[in-house]
């Protein structure tokens, strides 16, 4: 189950971020079991974490990244180049940031050009937002209602697991996952699912916090992550633990090259990545052919 690693972390405060040296694929799923927790309890713990976080998730994003996360998401959607009639799946996109941007991209500018398109592409755009946590989805639905999109047929909110999607094979033109894949227990499963649901020619895009290699900047970033962010979490969301988990999980996530290899192994072609802010964030993109 996704997020199993969060519950493991509850038992182990001793986690050091240097442990990112363990580069093997399953390391962040199985290697740190200081406490054994029953599965039902795990899911409850996990559910609690994201339930607590859901309402202040967006504010915390803004504070932690200094508003930059908006630019990163813009860049992600820009790279996707949404088109009218697209079937898109945004995984772990609970509060809807990426989905709303895609919706806007398709409906505002391109609507005008829509008249130029062939009559047989009259299919409606469908943007599916999939998240494992219902509370996150609820926040997303609320935000949609605030924007006046509450009844819009284009946005579909689905509860589901990235490792076991409920969508048909070859049904999606695009798949995005923004800041979600490092929470998945078995990354390869999520990638395999992504490969399964995408059509031929479909694109996979992943926006994720990644590894910084630039000498001085790396130390600044580490300082910021481990000293500032947990304190911000405490101050604003009242939840130091989740944000401590967050920065540790970033260090344990595979570096850019490794992750790109994993994507290629899932069968994707033209695997590329682009570092933003010197590697703090990376956008990996690939195509299913």
């Amino acid at each position: 189950m996704a997020l199993r690693s969060i519950s493991r972390r509850f038992g182990s405060r001793v986690l050091s971020y240097r442990s990112s040296s363990l580069a093997s694929l399953h390391s962040h799923a199985t290697s740190f079991g200081f406490q054994q927790v029953k599965e039902e309890e795990k899911s409850k713990l996990v559910g609690n974490v994201f339930t607590n976080v859901a309402s202040s998730y967006d504010i915390m994003n803004d504070v932690m990244s200094g508003g930059l996360h908006r630019l990163w998401k813009e860049r992600l959607v820009g790279k996707l180049s949404p088109f009218a009639g697209m079937k898109h799946l945004d995984v772990a996109g609970g509060t809807g940031d990426v989905a709303f941007r895609i919706f806007d991209a398709v409906n505002s500018v391109k609507r005008r050009a829509l008249r130029k398109v062939d009559e047989d592409s009259l299919e409606e755009t469908q943007i599916y937002v999939c998240d494992i946590n219902p509370n996150m989805l609820n926040v997303g639905k609320q935000r949609a209602a605030e924007r006046g999109l509450g009844d819009n047929k284009s946005l579909v909110w689905v509860e589901g697991d990235a490792e076991a999607l409920s969508f048909d094979d070859n049904s999606m033109d695009g798949y995005t996952i923004a800041f979600g894949i490092r929470n998945v227990t078995h990354i390869e499963k999520a990638l395999a699912e992504a490969y399964r649901v995408l059509k031929r020619g479909g694109r996979f895009l992943c926006l994720e916090l990644s590894h910084v290699d630039i000498p001085v900047f790396k130390d600044v970033y580490d300082l910021y992550s481990f000293k500032v962010i947990p304190n911000l979490g405490e101050l604003i969301a009242g939840d130091r633990e989740s944000y401590q988990y967050l920065v540790e999980s970033v260090r344990r996530f595979p570096p850019q090259e490794k992750f790109a290899t994993m994507i290629a192994d899932a069968g994707f072609e033209k695997v590329e990545y682009e570092n933003l802010v010197g590697g703090v964030v990376a956008i990996h993109s690939a195509i299913k052919l």
Partner: protein, 301 residues
């Protein structure tokens, strides 16, 4: 001879079909999975091929085998891109050099239109593909026995430029858009390179000994003639573009005359120089003589 020079100057990517032009404005890295290393014909610029199974050789071979067998033979990305772009060209007269045309093209080929999002500099990719195709067609026409023997060089140049420009006739209504796309600063390096290759190819076909001028000057001049004719053609309404061909012939003649004129101007300048030199020398001699005859008598200077 010029083809090899072109290859030297313009880089190893001078194979005429399926060139990969991906000038990457941001640093991105491409990974090719193990099972495609052996089958790829041309490796993209700046790729790294990764062998994920290096740690376990026997498992690797098995994995590789299983992978090849279990998955249907997949087209390389470049081939797929070429197919989509070729199909898109059919929609250009109606939809222009735009994403809509490429989306329509991808639908024809049976691929999700998302793939268009991955083409670098989208519309430019379509235009550049077209330019490459035209160059290839020109080379094919030339190779399959175009009769140039009975023509003087300037007529040969005219004929080749005409053949090349005629390929653009179906797209003439949207050609200004293509030109503006090519003029974008981001796209200029590639479009410049393509035009340079085109001009080089034409000179190569026309043959050596066409003139004595410098290699670069020849190409620049022909580049200018080609562009001028291309632009003239945009607003030409005459039946079968007769005016354009007349314009072309005149410009080519001017270019060839220009060479002769430059040569004549050089000789003229030399003659003048010689004449002036002689008269100056004569003057100086006269002055020296006068001074020496007088020098005996006057003292001051």
């Amino acid at each position: 001879m010029y083809r090899t020079a072109a290859r030297r100057l313009l880089g190893a990517g001078f194979t005429t079909s399926r060139l990969l032009r991906l000038p990457k404005p941001r640093p991105t890295t491409t990974i090719i999975p193990y099972s495609y290393c052996t089958s790829s014909m041309e490796s993209p610029i700046g790729n790294q091929s990764v062998n994920p199974n290096q740690s376990d050789p026997t498992a690797a071979r098995e994995e590789g085998h299983r992978r090849d067998e279990s998955r249907k033979p997949r087209a390389e990305f470049q081939e797929e891109q070429a197919r989509v772009l070729a199909a898109s060209l059919r929609h250009v007269p109606r939809l222009g050099w735009t994403e809509e045309a490429m989306i329509a093209g991808s639908r024809e080929v049976g691929v999700s239109p998302s793939i268009v999002g991955s083409f670098s500099r989208k519309e430019a990719a379509l235009v550049e593909y077209f330019m490459d195709e035209c160059l290839q067609l020109l080379i094919d026409r030339v190779d399959s026995g175009l009769d140039l023997q009975n023509l003087i060089p300037s007529e040969r140049v005219s004929k080749l430029v005409r053949i090349r420009l005629e390929m653009q006739i179906p797209y003439m209504s949207k050609w200004p858009q293509a030109l503006s796309i090519q003029a974008h600063p981001v796209n200029v390096p590639t479009s410049f390179k393509q035009r340079a290759m085109l001009v080089d190819e034409i000179w190569h076909t026309v043959g050596d000994g066409a003139s004595d001028l410098d290699w670069y000057v020849k190409r620049t001049v022909l580049g200018g003639v080609y562009s001028a004719t291309e632009i003239y053609m945009l607003t030409d309404d005459s039946p079968e573009y007769r005016d354009t061909w007349a314009f072309l012939d005149d410009r080519v003649k001017d270019a060839f005359d220009l060479k002769k004129s430059i040569q004549e101007a050089k000789y003229f300048a030399q003659d003048i120089g010689a004449g002036v030199g002689k008269s100056f020398q004569g003057l100086m001699n006269g002055v020296m003589q006068t001074m020496s005859t007088r020098g005996g008598r006057s003292s001051a200077f």
